[in-house]
Symmetry: C2
Subunit: 216 residues, 2 copies
């Protein structure tokens, strides 16, 4: 199984590439292919110094879709519409949305689109047969990148296709110490996406860094 990261040269995308490329066949996409190639070189050499082999190729965002079975949209909420407008070929893919629609005003706040959540907006933008799951919403970029630390977090996964959700949960469970939880249908993604501004506020008001969540 091949995983593609759209927006793989952003902060979250880079961190994901570091964690995922030693485990999965990874294609890292970017609007500018050269950036994706540079990110892959950085990943390969970072992982090599740690003694890890990795399988990772830098490509355009479109090639990241074309060459993957599972596509992760590692893009900020405001880039979702313009990015998806330039891409096609999602029909037989599983798409993972880790996107959180939020704004930083005086504090972080959840500002969902009219659909109710980023995941439901992605569903509206893509062909109806695409299997969409929300996952990885609450894991901070810095934690993805801190390879010396295990990721000891719970990852709620929402989706309407049971088989796709099981595949996504299996992916989650292979990464560090992440633990996937079935959080229900895509319709409840808003409750998952609003966790991120919540933990950002908790980090801020309690002088903590990169707060994550565990269910127990």
């Amino acid at each position: 199984m091949k995983i593609g990261i759209v927006g793989g040269t952003g902060d979250i995308g880079e961190g994901m590439a570091l964690r995922l490329s030693p485990i999965f066949d990874l294609v890292v996409g970017s609007r500018e292919k050269e950036k994706a190639v540079a990110t892959c070189q950085m990943c390969t050499s970072t992982l090599k110094t740690r003694g890890h082999e990795c399988s990772i190729t830098g490509v355009s965002n479109q090639e990241a879709v074309d060459n993957a079975d599972v596509v992760i949209l590692a893009i900020p909420f405001k880039h979702v519409v313009p990015t998806l407008e330039t891409l096609h070929g999602f029909e037989d893919k599983i798409v993972i949305s880790p996107v959180n629609p939020m704004e930083k005003r005086e504090f972080f706040t959840f500002v969902p689109p009219p659909e109710g959540s980023a995941a439901l907006m992605v569903k509206r933008l893509l062909p109806p047969e695409v299997k969409i799951c929300s996952a990885f919403n609450t894991i901070a970029a810095n934690r993805w990148k801190a390879l010396d630390e295990e990721l000891s977090y719970s990852v709620p996964v929402c989706g309407d296709d049971d088989g796709a959700k099981q595949e996504v949960m299996a992916i989650v469970n292979r990464i560090s110490q992440l633990k996937a939880f079935n959080a229900g249908p895509l319709a409840v993604s808003s409750m998952v996406e609003s966790l991120t501004p919540l933990v950002l506020n908790i980090a801020r008001y309690n002088k903590m860094k990169d707060v994550g969540i565990q269910f127990r």
Copy 2:
């Protein structure tokens, strides 16, 4: 400091009474005073067999407000409006809302009132000088009542009055192993209240019981 529980004979209220009465001076209110007296007798005898002294008095909901410095609204969302309509005298109190506006359809879903959250609705219903905090939203009734187990959970606390929020956080931190986190102003209570339908779905879809949350 005296704590009053409005709705202290409900499932959550009873559990809170069991956990709080060995630590704080507690007045437990109910629409029917006799029910509150019965709950207090149950608490006292349950705690006595465990070797705990407790300070707990069964009263009417109005007396629970009158005799307390901090009032916990341990009532379901649908009872908030009718209950608060019958009560007065909140002016100099700190009021804690653990209320979650949610519905169980095919799955649990967050259904906030027009104000955006139960806490903001409580704010609209009470005099402007009342200091309102949201807290204790995600702790299941069964966990409150399971006295053999520590409550090892994180408790996000929202509120606009810093002093009141500090007092509420201090109360939280004295109960079992609960750990209070400043989650920001009352305006972000919706992000805390929507945690509860999320963890109820997670419990349901993952065959778990009484799921709680830890920030880390």
